[in-house]
């Protein structure tokens, strides 16, 4: 009967979407460091812990008020709940049961419930013995006011902040990487204190019994001396005691220097990683951003343009000097090889990145980055630079949406400048929005006020706009002249007054920004509610 009940419960956990959703919610709340929910929860917990500690300090002199008691009860309830939820999230009990059940069925033997229970308990105990779980438990204990000793454990409530402060956690991780060195240092320090304690006790206890009364005084003096603190409350009087003091002070300096160098080198080793993790955290805050691969001459100009237009971007460059230059300009930089899958994935190519720009001066590298980017994200926009005309086709084959040749574009500018400088500057100014007038595209949406009407009815002159043309894939427009083939559609230049606009068409208009924005708003408001959504 009990077995059936357990199986029913386990099967429910395995298949229930509500159970999975609930567990996922608490995972995002408590464990997922990339979740905004956790970030908010951590902030709330930091405030609560600090407030509770202040209340404890206040209680030293004044009796606790009803509010303080209620707050403490609520906080402890929250701590206990958090502790239990973390234990629940640590592993899936039903997986252990189902795995053993499957094994039992396969081997055709009865289920070994005792063994299963042992594994489940061992897993949960494993969680309870993790440093942070111990701190969590110790943070709950000071609330049992009847146990005076537990009040000393109040300090563990402050340690609990380790859970919520990312930088504190990172520091703990850095220290963890130097465990061996720190262990060696601790053994050496212990040995030093032991020698100092014995030495000072032997020399001073007999001659200076008022200050070094017992072994504890000797230990206390050794620690104070070796750490270069030296309160001066106990001072050696004998020559032997003073020689011990000199020895301890000198070796103390060495130990201290060793400790500092260990921490500095650990931080230094992780600096690159720390910097990158702060960059990734920054990127997560953006709605979308552009990945620039290569910070050479072209990359620098692109970054300048993006910065000018307040668009977010991240630079990836393998060249140390380029990376330093970009960092000096205040840009987000990853000093790594952009052709590596991991680098692009970490940079967010599968998430919020809207485009990848391959701008290195080496076509081989550009082809490789393009191919990698396309493989990682089939829909992302990729613009690649080709330094030699023969590589343009290869870049398109690798998956680039657009290929740019610096010298071809520069040559076009020269050619246009010679024949018609004013006209060319005008059109460039319009594209770059440097003039008062801009060129924009406006879509014809189903059911909007312009859907199904003619160009003449629209009366662009009254709206102080100029219609340059219409982009459309609609075959009904084919009868019109001035049609220019684009990728999968046609551009109808200067469409006649009887040209009827259809859903999906794109108007190319020229006008003042304010005029275009007003017309766009009118179009949006004229659409049925459902299509607006």
């Amino acid at each position: 009967m009990l077995t059936q009940l357990v199986f029913a419960l386990v099967t429910f956990q395995q298949h229930s979407s509500t159970y999975k959703k609930t567990k996922r919610f608490f995972y995002h709340l408590l464990e997922n460091s990339e979740s905004r929910l956790k970030s908010r929860f951590d902030k709330a917990m930091i405030m609560s812990v600090l407030f509770s500690v202040f209340l404890f300090i206040d209680e030293v002199d004044t009796p606790a008020s009803n509010f303080e008691k209620m707050f403490e009860h609520l906080l402890i309830a929250l701590f206990i709940l958090e502790y239990l939820l973390r234990a629940w999230l640590y592993n899936d009990v039903h997986h252990i049961i189902l795995t053993h059940h499957a094994k039992s069925l396969y081997l055709n033997r009865p289920m070994q419930w005792g063994k299963v229970a042992k594994i489940i308990i061992a897993k949960k105990v494993e969680y309870m013995l993790t440093p942070l779980a111990i701190i969590d438990l110790l943070a709950i204990l000071p609330s049992f006011r009847s146990l005076t000793l537990f009040r000393a454990l109040l300090i563990f409530r402050l340690f609990k902040l380790f859970r919520y402060f990312k930088s504190l956690r990172l520091f703990a991780e850095i220290i963890e990487t130097k465990r061996f060195e720190l262990y060696t240092l601790t053994v050496f320090l212990g040995f030093l204190i032991f020698i100092g304690t014995v030495g000072i006790y032997l020399f001073e206890h007999a001659a200076n019994g008022q200050e070094v009364r017992n072994l504890f005084d000797a230990v206390y003096w050794s620690i104070v001396t070796v750490t270069s603190v030296g309160y001066g409350d106990i001072a050696p009087q004998t020559t032997g005691g003073r020689l011990v003091a000199i020895g301890l002070i000198l070796t103390g300096f060495g130990v201290l220097s060793f400790l500092i160098s260990i921490i500095v080198s650990a931080v230094n080793d992780r600096m690159h990683e720390l910097r990158e993790s702060s960059i990734y955290a920054e990127l997560k805050r953006y709605k979308s951003f552009v990945i620039i691969c290569g910070f050479g001459r072209v990359g620098q100009h692109i970054a300048k343009q993006l910065e000018k237009h307040n668009q977010h971007f991240i630079i990836i460059d393998n060249n140390k000097i380029n990376a330093i230059n970009a960092r000096r300009l205040g840009y987000l930089v990853i000093h790594a090889d952009a052709s590596k899958n991991e680098v692009l994935i970490n940079a967010g190519i599968k998430q919020k990145a809207s485009a990848v720009l391959c701008t290195t001066g080496d076509d081989v590298v550009n082809v490789y980055i393009t191919l990698t980017s396309r493989y990682l994200n089939s829909s992302i926009r990729i613009i690649s630079r080709a330094n030699h005309p023969q590589n343009v086709k290869k870049l398109y084959q690798a998956g680039a949406d657009n290929v740019i040749q610096p010298f071809e574009i520069a040559a076009l500018v020269v050619a246009q400048y010679i024949g018609k400088p004013v006209a060319f500057e005008a059109i460039l100014g319009v594209i770059r929005e440097e003039k008062q007038f801009i060129m924009e595209t406006l879509p014809v949406c189903s059911g909007s006020m312009i859907d199904g009407i003619t160009i003449a009815e629209l009366d662009f002159e009254r709206r102080k706009l100029m219609l340059v043309g219409v982009v459309s894939a609609n075959p009904t427009h084919r009868k019109h002249k001035n049609s220019y083939a684009l990728k999968n559609q046609h551009f109808y230049f200067n469409p006649p007054p009887f040209f009827v606009l259809r859903t999906g068409d794109l108007l190319v208009v020229l006008g003042r920004e304010i005029g275009i924005a007003y017309f766009r708003e009118q179009l949006k408001n004229s659409r049925p509610k459902e299509s607006k959504r």
Partner: protein
């Protein structure tokens, strides 16, 4: 036909020539050695090997005489600055277009007398940004105005005795009559700036004003011919 002197053999110089209409321009290519001369001559261009540091050698190419446009396309900025200064001292009316490698050299080239500075990397950077910011517009223009299709942007000057003199821009109606879109007018009398026609201020055309139009080559040609025909009358 305008004559262009191209100093420096590079991808850039060949690309520019490819972009220009061969019926409107003739070229003389100035290279540094025999190897470059052979490569250029293979493509059918008039080629000379001269030392650009020597004024007499520059004059021998035609600068100060029959050269209208000078391309300074040497890879080193200092060479381009020296060539610009030398050419400007020989001909004040010469149109000098110089390529720049280090952005800091742009001002030096302008001070030396260049009319237009070309920084290929800067242009490439801007173009990439245009593609990102306005993909639809750049795609349309790249495929039509700057691309393989017969849609062009042109500037047409109002000649003397033109019937268009004293005509208001709103009365031109180029869209219906000539299949051209009038983008703006450069007012030569007042400020020499481009005024977009959608602006509220109506402009009256004068001799020397420049119309900036967009349209197929044949329609632009027809419009130009009609204006010229007016002169004959």
């Amino acid at each position: 036909m305008k004559r262009i002197a191209v100093f420096g053999y590079s991808i850039m110089s060949l690309e520019v020539i490819k972009q220009l209409n061969e019926e409107q321009y003739s070229y003389v290519f100035i290279v540094k050695n025999e190897t470059e001369a052979l490569l250029v001559a293979e493509q059918g261009f008039d080629t000379r090997i001269i030392d650009f540091r020597n004024d007499e050698a520059i004059k021998s190419v035609g600068i100060g005489e029959n050269i209208d446009i000078l391309f300074c396309f040497y890879p080193t900025d200092s060479d381009n600055v020296f060539l610009t200064i030398s050419a400007r001292s020989l001909d004040n009316e010469l149109t000098i277009i110089a390529i720049v490698d280090d952005p800091e050299s742009a001002e030096k080239l302008l001070a030396a007398g260049a009319n237009k500075i070309i920084d290929p990397y800067e242009i490439c950077g801007r173009k990439t940004h245009d593609m990102l910011a306005k993909p639809d517009i750049t795609d349309i223009l790249d495929n039509t105005v700057f691309g393989r299709h017969d849609l062009h942007i042109a500037q047409i000057e109002i000649p003397k005795n033109s019937s268009l003199e004293q005509t208001k821009t709103s009365a031109l109606l180029l869209e219906g009559t000539y299949n051209l879109i009038l983008i703006g007018v450069v007012d030569k009398v007042s400020d020499d700036n481009l005024h977009f026609v959608m602006d509220e201020k109506e402009h009256t055309l004068n001799i020397g004003d420049v119309l900036v139009v967009l349209g197929p080559a044949s329609d632009i040609k027809a419009f130009k011919e009609e204006i010229e025909a007016v002169i004959c009358i």
